[in-house]
């Protein structure tokens, strides 16, 4: 059993390596005739190089569509099981699912249940989110009673004051604008650069078959 698992993991790693490298080279280098210098066939060669990448992307689109079917099956099975266990919310979810499908079939020209119910609910949630974030910000000093928590609260207060439409607060508005343009942008770029580096390293590990999620 263990032997078969090792073979399966090796096949998965080799397939991942081959497909990954093909896609990487094709997507990075494809469609650029300048790479082939003065070769009269440069245009055709560049297009040929881009072909595997394009084919793999098309395959990905098909898999994405298939994954939605898997998702729906998972959703229905999970909540059917939970409903059988006496979970009321799962029953409501399944009833809503059936109602949305039925509505679409029986009243094809009408406003869908999604537009009529879910969008207003999401708008209400968005409004609630605003209050939640303010409450969360207010609680920060109880969770992070250090210099960084204090600094965060101070910055929030300065930015909020700076956004008020009073001419007396113009210096605070200018300071708030500077905070958002320079330190906040610098911090955001640093975080994004870190994430980009992390992505490259994880991508390299995936290509080398070192990623456990690919090896199973």
């Amino acid at each position: 059993m263990k032997g078969w698992r090792t073979v399966g993991a090796s096949i998965a790693a080799i397939t991942g390596f081959l497909v990954g490298f093909t896609a990487l080279l094709s997507l990075l280098l494809g469609d650029n005739p300048a790479l082939f210098g003065d070769d009269p066939q440069a245009e055709a060669l560049a297009q040929n190089l881009a072909l595997p990448g394009a084919a793999l992307l098309r395959l990905l689109v098909i898999m994405l569509a298939l994954s939605i079917v898997i998702g729906i099956a998972n959703l229905l099975l999970l909540h059917a099981r939970r409903m059988a266990g006496g979970r009321l919310m799962s029953g409501i979810l399944l009833a809503s699912f059936a109602a949305a499908i039925g509505w679409r079939i029986l009243l094809p020209g009408e406003v869908s249940l999604l537009e009529a119910i879910q969008l207003p609910i999401e708008s209400a949630l968005a409004a609630l989110l605003c209050l939640t974030l303010v409450a969360g910000g207010a609680r920060i000093l109880t969770k992070r009673s250090d210099i960084w928590g204090l600094l965060l609260v101070l910055v929030v207060v300065v930015v909020l004051l700076g956004s008020l439409p009073f001419p007396e607060l113009a210096p605070i508005a200018a300071f708030s604008d500077w905070l958002m343009r320079i330190p906040a942008q610098a911090g955001a770029r640093a975080i994004l650069l870190g994430i980009a580096l992390g992505s490259v390293v994880v991508g390299a590990r995936a290509l080398l078959g070192q990623d456990r999620s690919l090896r199973g």
């Binding site: 300048a34 580096l197 490259v200």
Partner: protein
């Protein structure tokens, strides 16, 4: 930048990373050269939450958010899967399989395989929730809030791709007195995580998280490569800054810069040696 130059530089970056991953792995495997990871307090809470979950017979909630295979956050999904696999394996002595949630359909097979590979009990993937929404999914947050109420997880490890909706999930967790660790590859989600979660990771810490959760010889190699790239990036940014300033200061010469760099290097080596000796002592 010209397209060809851009392509060549991208390829160089990828190949250099691959070589570094290999080299770091080989060096790491050699006896006596194992590198200790710097301490991150957030990771120290995870074993406690795992023990609480086993004792209380309640699940851990592990959330991918909108991290998905085939989109720009594929690597986030892969890093999450590895982290979750290790957390599940460490806590598979319990009776309650973990609750996993995602809003991306392509992550469902990944999450299912993650549980199957790590959970030793039966029917591990029975609590895999998919709430069909895209990025910044308020519907996803609402669905998870319902799960928080019904399943009562011991703690939430929200590591993936989240937007502002993370605030609703963390607020729900806080109201139910459940622990939370959060990190997001989106800036809005990261800000909310820092402000509202019990423990927060920042940016690239998500990608080296598996190294902290399990003691595996190969994983710190990724952390080493990240550190190398980060140091190179800092040197490049500093050099660009100095060159920018140099254009405005007539007294600044290359000789002076070389001298300052040499002094900084010597000081760095002395400090590093002192620190190492103190650690050994």
């Amino acid at each position: 930048m010209e397209t060809t130059t851009q392509q060549v530089l991208s390829l160089l970056l990828v190949f250099a990373t691959i070589v570094l991953v290999f080299a770091a792995r080989i060096l790491q495997a050699r006896a006596g050269s194992r590198r200790k990871l710097r301490s991150i307090p957030a990771f120290e809470r995870i074993p406690n939450w795992g023990s609480q979950a086993i004792e209380a017979d309640s699940p851990l909630h592990l959330a991918f958010g909108s991290a998905s295979i085939g989109e720009d956050n594929t690597t986030t999904a892969l890093a999450n899967a590895e982290l979750f696999q290790r957390i599940i394996a460490n806590n598979s002595a319990g009776d309650s399989p973990p609750t996993l949630s995602t809003s991306a359909p392509t992550t469902i097979p990944l999450a299912s395989a993650t549980v199957a590979a790590a959970w030793t009990g039966a029917d591990g993937a029975r609590n895999l929730h998919w709430y069909p929404q895209g990025k910044r999914a308020l519907g996803y947050a609402a669905g998870i809030s319902a799960v928080i109420g019904e399943d009562a997880p011991a703690a939430h490890i929200l590591a993936g791709s989240f937007g502002m909706e993370l605030g609703l999930i963390l607020d729900s967790a806080g109201c139910n007195r459940q622990g939370s660790l959060a990190v997001s590859d989106q800036l809005e989600g990261q800000a909310v995580a820092f402000a509202m979660a019990d423990e927060a990771l920042i940016g690239e810490e998500l990608f080296i998280a598996p190294a902290y959760v399990a003691d595996a010889s190969r994983l710190p190699a990724a952390a080493i490569v990240m550190d190398i790239w980060r140091a190179l990036l800092m040197i490049l940014v500093a050099a660009a800054l100095v060159m920018g300033i140099a254009g405005q200061l007539p007294w600044l010469s290359w000789q002076l810069l070389a001298l300052v760099a040499l002094v900084a290097l010597v000081l760095g080596v002395i400090l590093w040696t002192l620190r190492r000796r103190r650690a050994e002592a």
